[in-house]
Amino acid sequence: MVAVIPMVAAGIPLFPPSASSVSWRVDRLFFGLCAFSVIVVGIVFFGNLYFAIRYRNGSHADRSNQIHDSTPIEWTWTIITAIVFFGYFVWGLQPYFDDFRPPADAMNIYVVGRQWMWKIEHPDGRREINQLHVPVGQSIQLNLISQDVIHSFGVPAFRLKRDVLPGRYETVWFRPTKPGTYHLFCDQYCGAFHSDMAGQIVVMDGARYQQWLSQVRTSTPMAREGSELFRRHGCVECHKPGGRGPELSGLPGRLVHLSDGSVLIADDDYIRESILAPGTKLVAGYPPIMPTFQGQLSEMQISELIAYIKSLGIEEQEVRPQ
């Protein structure tokens, strides 16, 4: 185990942060089961090793009165195992029941999971995407529902996980105890960008939370969502300064020279058409490598992308999720 020390020093995490009111109880149960496992593996390992060495073929150990059956021995280790297992079963119940009974003072937050994005809505109507800002010490009740397939709202730091079902609300609660930024994962496989559905839970102490509440200007939500889609679907890889795709900032209303020599003024329909069928009106001087997004983007998403592209031209210092 000597190799572990440099690993830890090199910043390889070995244990998740413990940041919710329940997490220390789950960790205690985890270490309790680890202790039991070490004991059993120890018994089995050293038992096998000892018998293997002592009674290896050719050794002159005493092999008189071999016993083949011993009902008392069998029943003792059966009953002991059963009792210990029952103990761990009961111990396992307690953290689970905590999850199911949210305290009365919990702040209700609605989470809508949809293919490859978490839409989170605060009680005061503020909406966030893949981000949840919460004050430390405040109990939060999450009402989870999905718009399409089954997702799963998982926050390892809070030892929290609950599947998000289409057509039915699931409620789970947690109380963050340590400020910081923690991973939010989608834990139930939900399609192509299942792993991109990750986000952050930002736990802030009272003062910073109030400051966050006042300071953040809710930008035009459509553009905000559009920027998210722009990043998620990989448009940013090509359509960035010096990228393989044409520059998009300030595109609406600009003259565009097409590869077939014709010229047109870029408007919403042109943007929409080149998202769905990129080959039809190709910009001169660019290879036809853009994939079609037919069927991957809903109408609303396309209009959000268009709103985002429009907002690109006007104010550069848009507040983007980091």
Binding site: F15, L29, G47, D69, S70, F89, R168, Q188, S195
Partner: protein
């Protein structure tokens, strides 16, 4: 009965005998193989078929592990990665693990162990192989048509409505292979009930037969449920009949109930035969009767029955009612007890025995060690509070790979090496066998131990991209996977080599008890010249000083 020591120090007695007629050379040519009704030949046909799928599934696994070298995917984009893990799952579960021990070793050895000339329905046995191959062809067709991206679990509503990959082809492949399982199970149940040699009472049966009987019962009772469930998903995809569709008031959990009602007993279909093989190996290589024969036998039966009561532990966090989760959690702890009993009994068997460290015994040790860890981590997942944290993370991946790869595949390889002299009539090179066993054990641990840590850190399963801080552990796991891949390649090579060039094997190279060792290696087509009569207890090694190895 003199036992000739196997391994390098054997006095070379290359018999220049006129080739004795046995099941391999009795009739030659492709037709004789493709139309055989001999359970031994069908076992070999299954061996060839599942080895192909093992290699294919293994390649998919290696590609996945290479892709996880860097946080943002190293060689494949997310869609391809999703198809890789789906194919890895489907091929390994249905086309390698489930048929591995029952259809290969079971087909070959069960009739010989109980003194029968063949299985009860030989033609059904051949039909089972053809159905398996047909199902395999559909799965390969699915790969050609772009693969399926729903994972081997086919969760609805993603698989039935939102996935736009070749889901129906994959479902047809698995549906067809389900009937191959039912036919094999049916054959074993009837053979073990009706065709035992005179004197072979139930408590004189080798423990391998007990576990094969339990597995056969599970195969027959569980496979039809997955067949109908997948048919409903296919109907939903093709005709939108709304059974699993939440928009029509469909219950999203209903699929999970029907799926896991099959899939948890399926994991016992994979591990019970492995336990049977290990009981044989431990008894033979300790030259001693298995400790607590009746307890081990009834432990198999109780695992088979209790295995059907625990499927809800896959759905603790998926919105199952609290009361149901408590019941399933309790039953999951109850089903763990018989497995613990078996491990203790194997350990006690070695006490006061003559332990030999031949390759099969190394695989048995590997099984006992890794299965114990796998079983114990199952207790973590069965604890309700803990499952909320580790469900659907790499902790689960490490848990079931410890039991499937560390347990079933190790025991399968142990069984293949143990019965290889009987199957091929040749002795495999002992040194290479031990090297590959140790290599597989080392590679396996390096691959899956880091995944326990990753799992508790919260890294979800089926993630092509992951946060950067998990990279180091993933690199270690990929390193282990490459060693494991190499380790699996070795037996493929030297066993194939041995089938042609190695020394001829005597009837009983290991000095084992059991009817299959009382006939020639390789055995004649009808297994026994005269049906043996069984008079004494199984594993009666008595006080013979093991002159072997």
């Amino acid at each position: 009965m003199t036992t000739i020591a196997a391994g390098a120090r054997l006095p070379v007695a290359r018999r220049s005998v006129v080739e004795r007629e046995h099941y391999l050379n009795e009739s030659v040519g492709v037709r004789s193989w493709l139309l055989t009704t001999d359970h031994k030949r069908i076992g070999i046909l299954f061996l060839i078929a599942i080895t192909f799928f093992f290699v294919a599934g293994g390649i998919a696994a290696l590609l996945m592990r290479i892709n996880l070298l860097t946080p943002n995917g190293y060689i494949v984009d997310p869609e391809t990665y999703n198809r890789l893990f789906s194919m890895h799952g489907i091929m390994m579960v249905w086309f390698f693990l489930i048929p591995s021990i029952p259809a290969v070793l079971g087909n070959f050895v069960v009739p010989m162990m109980i003194g029968a000339r063949d299985l009860a329905f030989p033609r059904l046995n051949l039909l089972s192989w053809y159905i398996f191959v047909l199902g395999g062809l559909f799965t390969l067709a699915d790969v050609v048509m772009g693969g399926v991206d729903t994972g081997w679990t086919f969760y609805t509503p993603f698989s039935s409505t939102y996935s736009n990959s070749a889901v129906v082809l994959a479902i047809v492949g698995v549906f067809i292979s389900g009937f191959s399982s039912i036919l094999t199970g049916l054959n074993f149940i009837v053979t073990i009930h009706k065709m035992r040699a005179p004197g072979m009472t139930w408590f004189r049966l080798p423990l391998f037969i007990w576990s094969m009987y339990t597995t056969a019962v599970i195969l027959v009772l569980a496979s039809p449920v997955i067949a109908i469930t997948l048919v409903l998903v296919a109907l939903e995809r093709l005709f939108h009949i709304g059974i699993f569709d939440p928009r029509f008031g469909g219950d999203p959990l209903l699929f999970q109930h029907l799926f896991w009602f099959y899939s948890h007993p399926a994991v016992y279909i994979m591990v019970l035969p492995a336990m049977g093989v290990v009981s044989e190996l431990v008894a033979c290589f300790s030259r001693k009767r298995v400790f607590g024969y009746k307890f081990v036998a009834f432990a198999s039966i109780s695992i088979g029955v209790l295995g059907f009561l625990v499927w809800g532990h896959h759905m603790f966090v998926s919105g199952q009612a609290i009361y149901a989760s408590v019941v399933f959690s309790f039953l999951s702890y109850v089903v763990a007890v018989p497995s613990a009993i078996k491990v203790f009994n194997w350990t006690m068997t070695m006490r006061k025995g003559h332990v030999h460290f031949a390759t099969p015994m190394l695989y048995a040790y590997g099984f006992i060690g890794l299965f114990t860890i796998g079983g114990l981590t199952g207790l973590f997942l069965a604890a309700l509070g803990l499952d909320a944290h580790v469900h659907d993370t790499y902790f689960v991946i490490a848990h079931f790979h410890f039991i499937m790869v560390g347990g079933s595949v190790m025991a399968y390889l142990g069984g293949i090496h143990y019965w290889w002299p009987k199957i091929s009539g040749k002795l495999y090179p002992e040194m290479w066998g031990r090297i590959s066993a140790v290599l597989i054990f080392a590679g396996f641990n390096l691959t899956f131990l880091p995944q326990f840590i990753l799992g508790y850190l919260g890294m979800p399963r089926r993630f092509p991209h992951y946060p950067p801080e998990f990279q180091a552990l993933n690199v270690m796991s990929t390193a282990g996977a490459s060693i494991l891949g190499l380790g699996y390649l070795l037996p493929l090579l030297y066993l194939a080599w041995s089938a042609r060039y190695a020394q001829n094997a005597p009837p009983n190279p290991w000095g084992a008890t059991g009817l299959e060792w009382q006939t020639e290696s390789p055995p004649p087509t009808h297994n026994f010249e005269v049906t043996p009569v069984v008079t004494e207890e199984p594993y009666d090694y008595g006080e013979i000083e093991g002159a072997y190895a």
